[in-house]
């Protein structure tokens, strides 16, 4: 610890004091060093949802949006991680591919049944990102074991529904679609309002992110309803509606 000269400016003295405090904390290991676990890549647009990034060993519980789960896994899969989806028989594979999930490194276990805990355990051993559907046959003890295993092995669990002790809890509170009208248009733009809760976080934070972005669409989802957005869009742009198809 260095002695700060009395004539140093306020800023210098503050930073010196902070450095001293940090040194003391590290010596006594009061900070959570576990939180310095390496991160998996995460799409930039999702940074507000998980400010700490997608840390290995973490459990992220998502309520209300399968798209958000897929988006969280997408960038890591694109970067070379293996992904498995357990107990999600209805997951939209095209949506997953559209959000960056590499289908060659994706394995589906749609119906784990009574072996859910064993299957999740096996997948955590071999995969970086494991997506779990709702209503898996797992007790709280199973969940704790799985969490410990994930922390040890450095996998990320992205869970639909609630999960006791999750590191981050994302709950979708509102969805706003753009592009759809009264019989015309199509779904083009989506904004999610997400409530973020976390173990290491105090108050609940609300964040709005755009999960589906159509660059050609110039409307904006607004409070008055979706048709307003379409009216704006209809004037400036032209897209053809899908024609009669025969194969």
């Amino acid at each position: 610890m260095s002695v700060v000269p009395a004539e140093a400016s306020r800023g210098d003295r503050l930073s010196a004091a902070r450095a001293a405090l940090k040194g003391a904390e590290e010596r006594l290991s009061t900070t959570r060093l576990a939180w310095d676990a390496p991160r998996l890549p995460l799409a930039e647009s999702l940074a507000p949802v998980l400010p700490d990034g997608l840390r290995r060993g973490q459990v992220v519980a998502v309520t209300g949006s399968t798209s958000l789960m897929l988006a969280l896994a997408g960038e890591a899969s694109r970067a070379g991680s293996w992904t498995s989806m357990i107990g999600m028989p209805h997951a939209g594979i095209l949506a997953a591919a559209g959000r960056g999930v590499d289908l060659t490194r994706l394995a589906l276990v749609p119906h784990p049944g009574i072996h859910a805990a064993a299957v999740v355990g096996a997948c955590i051993d071999g995969m970086d990102v494991v997506l779990l559907g709702p209503r898996l046959a797992m007790s709280d003890a199973d969940r704790r074991r799985v969490m410990a295993k994930a922390r040890e092995g450095g996998s990320v669990l992205i869970v639909a529904g609630s999960w006791p002790g999750a590191h981050a809890v994302l709950e979708v509170k509102g969805v706003r679609w753009g592009g759809l009208g009264a019989g015309d248009g199509r779904l083009r733009h989506r904004e999610l309002t997400v409530a973020i809760e976390g173990r290491a976080r105090g108050a609940v934070k609300m964040v709005t992110i755009a999960v589906d972005v159509d660059r050609q669409w110039r409307g904006s989802p607004n409070k008055e309803g979706l048709s307003g957005g379409v009216a704006k869009a209809g004037a400036g742009e032209s897209w053809t509606r899908p024609s009669m198809g025969t194969s």
Binding site: G64, S65, T66, S67, L70, W82, S84, P89, H90, A91, G92, I93, L94, A95, A97, G98, L103, T104, R105, L106, A107, L108, V109, P110, H111, P112, G113, H115, A118, V119, A122, C123, D125, G126, M127, D128, K173, G174, V175, R176, W177, L180, G181, A182, G183, G185, R186, L187, R190, D212, G225, L226, V230, R241, P242, S243, M244, G245, T246, S247
Partner: protein, 559 residues
């Protein structure tokens, strides 16, 4: 420069039609022709005698010879049938090159020495093919490719060094005989037409030109033609060496149906295959498992084997797959013919490569994390059975469900539908994140509570205003409402239990898709995207609904 090789050529005249007649069971002396596109590509001798020519239209050919049998064109069949001829020729000489179905090339030096003379070789070949494969053939011997083919067509033996003089009187059109591929033939035919218009009618005239001038005027094709017209070679013959498949088979003494029996046999033949692969010093990339039932059905699957990383585990790895496949099939979960006792079980190695020459991935070998993931998935497969773990890939299609192909992990299936086709009427992006494996029923109602209908002319009866999904089966209230007399029926009905009606915020459609209307599995549907209003703790949901067969179904949810 390639040294000119003395070659014997075995030529079966009119091969496509001869093969087609053999495959169709038409007598050898019947008039027949093979039709491809708009014209005849090959004509049998009897048909030719009746006046049918190559390139004739079907109508003209039938006018010339009303009893003509017209057979379809099939290159696969031509090649397959020719295998018998090649095998017969291989009993006479070792090593033949199949230049194209109908034409075999044999290096003549050694073979002629073995049989005593070129005459004896030719005779042995013709007799061998006639006896073993029952086809008439012509044999000719000469130096160089083109001369040998011309000699075979004339059934003559051209003495060594006389090829150039032998070819000189032939027309330049003969050059096309030496072109083995279609594109090459087109280029050669272009060249021939130019030569004819230049007044160079014979190969002798053509070869009299200096080579440098030919190259300057005609480029690579000209150089190739000049060289073979002089009776020289452009490439040494590529000899095929026939190798038997590496396969093992177990025939049950009594037809077996119990899984325990299969487990033992699976382990046994997997070990045998491993030993057979090791004995020939090769390794395989895929294994085909074939099981035959008492009823004559065949159950066949192809499995990938990434044995590169753990060669020692091959036998166990394959035994597991055989067992899983048979278990899944016997329990009726997997698709396939009706379960019946098995009479035999066979494993065939495919994608065989020599040990040490496997193709690794582009970026080095299978990485540690890949191997780890594969191992964990195998563990899950061991737990849940082979169909428990799926791999998916994208394929062409219109609805979100059709655009995904799922297969048991590690198994190879039929090729997916092409992504490159346009697929008009495809549901636009973004793709829904929840796609139901089988569509759920849905009630789409207008402002008055009547069901919305899409008519044959794709008019929608009224704008959708309310949507009711099926209620959660655990929702007692919805069930009670369903049973209540005010719901319009007393004592409940067979129909679905509807949840609460939710107001529609916005919608788009209908987008009609009529698929495979000519087939049994055809479907006509009109898709509608509907966004539901938020409220009462419910999220503003967007759904993809379809009107088909008089009712609405919920295809997918954009959640």
């Amino acid at each position: 420069m390639v040294a000119t090789v003395r070659r014997a050529v075995l030529w079966v005249p009119d091969w496509p039609v001869v093969a087609a007649m053999a495959a169709a069971g038409v007598g050898v002396d019947a008039p027949a022709a093979v039709l491809h596109g708009r014209g005849m590509v090959a004509v049998s001798a009897a048909a030719r005698a009746a006046g049918v020519r190559r390139g004739m239209r079907k109508r003209h050919a039938q006018r010339a010879c009303p009893e003509l049998t017209i057979l379809p064109h099939d290159e696969g069949r031509d090649a397959r049938e020719f295998e018998a001829v090649a095998a017969a020729a291989e009993r006479v000489v070792s090593g033949v090159e199949i230049s194209r179905p109908g034409l075999l090339m044999i290096p003549a030096n050694g073979a002629a020495r073995f049989h005593g003379s070129e005459d004896a070789l030719a005779e042995a070949l013709v007799t061998g093919v006639a006896d073993d494969a029952a086809y008439e053939s012509c044999v000719g011997v000469a130096d160089g490719l083109l001369a040998a083919i011309a000699a075979a067509r004339a059934s003559v033996l051209v003495p060594a060094g006389a090829s150039r003089d032998f070819l000189a009187p032939y027309g330049v059109g003969t050059l096309a005989l030496a072109a083995m591929e279609r594109l090459q033939r087109v280029a050669v035919e272009d060249l021939v037409s130019v030569l004819v218009r230049l007044g160079l009618g014979t190969l002798g005239d053509f070869t009299a030109l200096p080579l440098s001038d030919v190259i300057a005027r005609f480029g690579a094709v000209g150089a190739w033609a000049h060289r073979i017209a002089r009776g020289e070679d452009v490439a040494p013959p590529v000899l095929r060496r026939s190798e038997d498949d590496i396969a093992v088979e177990y025939v049950f003494e009594e037809p077996a149906q119990r899984v325990e029996q299969f487990a033992l046999v699976a382990a046994f033949i997997a070990e045998q295959l491993d030993a057979a692969l090791l004995a020939s010093g090769v390794r395989c990339g895929r294994v085909r498992i074939t099981a035959r039932t008492e009823k004559g059905d065949v159950l066949e699957r192809v499995w990938r084997t990434d044995v590169g990383v753990r060669a020692g585990a091959f036998a166990k790895h394959m035994a597991d797959r055989v067992r899983w496949q048979l278990e899944g099939w016997l329990s009726g979960t997997a698709t396939g013919p009706e379960p019946a006792p098995l009479v035999s079980l066979a494993l065939t190695a495919e994608d065989v490569v020599l040990l040490g020459s496997e193709q690794a991935y582009l970026w080095g070998g299978a990485s540690g994390s890949d191997a780890k993931a594969h191992r964990s998935l195998e563990r899950v497969q061991g737990l849940l059975g082979v169909e428990g773990v799926l791999s998916v890939r994208e394929q062409g299609g219109r609805s979100p469900r059709d655009r995904v192909q799922a297969l048991p992990w590690g198994q190879e299936g039929q090729t997916p539908r092409s992504l490159g086709h346009p697929w008009p009427g495809r549901i636009p992006e973004p793709a829904p994140a929840t796609v139901f494996a089988t569509a759920e029923p849905l009630a789409v109602l207008d402002a008055g509570g009547r069901p919305v209908v899409v008519d044959r002319r794709l008019g929608i009866s009224a704008p959708p205003t309310w949507v009711r999904r099926q209620a959660d089966p655990r929702d007692g209230l919805a069930r009670a409402v369903h049973r209540h007399p005010s719901s319009g029926h007393v004592g409940g009905s067979e129909g679905p239990v509807w949840g609460a009606a939710r107001p529609v915020e916005a919608w788009a459609g209908p987008w009609p898709v009529s698929e495979r209307w000519w087939a049994e599995d055809g479907s006509r549907r009109a898709y509608v995207q509907i966004a539901l209003r938020e409220g009462e703790g419910e999220l503003g949901l967007a759904v993809l609904a379809a009107f088909t067969a008089g009712g609405w179904v919920l295809e997918a949810i954009y959640d």
